[in-house]
Symmetry: C2
Subunit: 301 residues, 2 copies
């Protein structure tokens, strides 16, 4: 589902962003740049410099260390911490949320998150799951930028038919430049296991496998650097993601291992045609993907 | 071994580059830009547009379709075709090479190539194996550039002690901006299996695994695109590489599969500490690698 950015979009009076790392602080910058938030409140730990950095960079207008205090009178709350902190946060803010508040998130897994929200939030509050597929191996509010989300895809999980709350969330991501697509949490978790969680598991594993050969890593060139870029991602965030999408990640890793074994067997037995067909299939699919992305970029107004 | 670019480097009178794709045409541009070649002769197929493009881009001064004719009176011959065309080429040029000619290559595997050269070239000719670790998923002389090799590493395989021919080849790659390292063909093939051939096998497999999930590929974001960049590489070139470094590639793929299985098991059993340790080890090693590369770049004159 795509929403036009020309339709009216009433702004949120008070937006609370819980977790002011790369994603949270970038969202604050983007909302403020587009005039979509009356006031942005950031929640972080008292002993971390993140709140100070987010304030200095004007990603937030106000810093809070108590989420339950921060969300009072907020009409939008966005969870931007690593996913496995969500239960604790949801439990803490539930009693303080005013009826009608919209709660969303930026987490990379959705079935588990939707379940936590259903279990812990009062019925008078609307939870809409968001997964903006933007980011970077960098982290922290010092790396935040207002255009981090620009042009990327945001997958949104909610009930059908779309409630007003879901429509406002679709509007919000669209307004800050994202393409949006509403899908079921089940399909979401399977798709991102295939195109995001598996590539991360593959990249972390590629570094650890190459490191088994003494002295080989220093000769690595651009191919290795690019193939493993996401292995420099935040460890806690990815531990959380793997643990909140266990089934789909394990299933995709098994499929990947099976595909690798096919290629390994073809190489071991010198089956030239099999190798060529395998590589051709992969190259054609990736080249297609790049062509579609480039076409989409060019057609952007 | 690193060679100073301030030492005298007599130029080659006539350089024949066999294969004027990305690597061959870029070498022609680089040699001409540095005034290191009197005349550059390119060899290609009569029915391919590559020779015309290479001439138009001034990567070569002269186009030939018969390698045996082209190498006459050349003091340097560089094999830049896919590796498995080397035997046919070496057989064709062997009778036409003048004594003292230096023959080198840009192939990604070395034990097999050194063996072919030893078997097929006359003893009066010097073969030095080169593997400039530069390139791109792009191909053809239309993508060639004079600075393709700049700042990258060139692994050089030859006998010890270094003969004059090997020293001239080290000089040549150094002059066009590469860092050089002389190692045994056995170590070369193992190292590149770990940091180049495995990442390519992993990337091709990653695309084919993700493609097993219907409709998932279009939601792929930057992580997938970077992780699979090298899966857009030339299919014939990579079929050749896998088939000329079979043992090391299969061994590294088996190690990789073992490492993936460790991570999969930790995720499947919810072993948070094991996952965190696995990711931390990979992230630290990659971050170290990036730091060293950045430091090396900064210290470059």
């Amino acid at each position: 589902m795509t929403s036009s950015s020309n339709s009216p979009c009433p702004k949120f009076d008070r937006v609370t962003i819980i977790g002011v790392g790369l994603l949270g602080a970038s969202l604050g910058l983007a909302l403020k740049q587009r005039g979509m938030a009356g006031r942005v409140v950031g929640v972080g730990r008292a002993n971390s410099p993140s709140l100070r950095v987010a304030l200095d960079r004007r990603a937030i207008d106000e810093a809070q260390t108590d989420a339950a205090v921060a969300v009072k009178n907020s009409d939008l709350v966005v969870l931007c911490t690593p996913v496995r902190q969500f239960p604790e946060t949801l439990r803490a803010i539930a009693p303080a949320l005013q009826p009608g508040t919209i709660v969303t998130d930026v987490g990379s897994t959705k079935q588990q998150v939707m379940q936590w929200a259903a279990d812990m939030l009062p019925k008078s509050v609307h939870f809409v799951g968001s997964h903006p597929m933007a980011g970077s191996e960098k982290r922290g509010p010092e790396s935040a930028k207002a255009d981090l989300y620009d042009g990327a895809l945001c997958l949104i999980c909610t009930d059908f038919p779309l409630e007003a709350a879901a429509i406002r969330i679709v509007e919000m991501w669209t307004r800050i430049g994202m393409r949006t697509q509403v899908i079921s949490p089940e399909l979401h978790d399977l798709w991102v296991a295939a195109v995001s969680h598996l590539p991360h598991a593959a990249a972390f594993s590629l570094v650890n496998a190459a490191a088994l050969v003494p002295d080989a890593l220093p000769v690595a060139a651009g191919g290795f650097i690019d193939s493993t870029r996401v292995a420099s991602s935040d460890v806690q965030m990815w531990t959380d993601i793997f643990l909140t999408n266990q089934n789909d990640v394990v299933a995709m890793m098994n499929r990947y291992i099976g595909v690798l074994e096919d290629l390994r067997d073809a190489i071991e037995h010198g089956e030239e045609d099999s190798i060529r067909n395998f590589l051709t299939k992969a190259k054609e699919k990736r080249d297609d993907l790049i062509r579609h992305r480039n076409a989409a970029k060019e057609s952007k107004p």
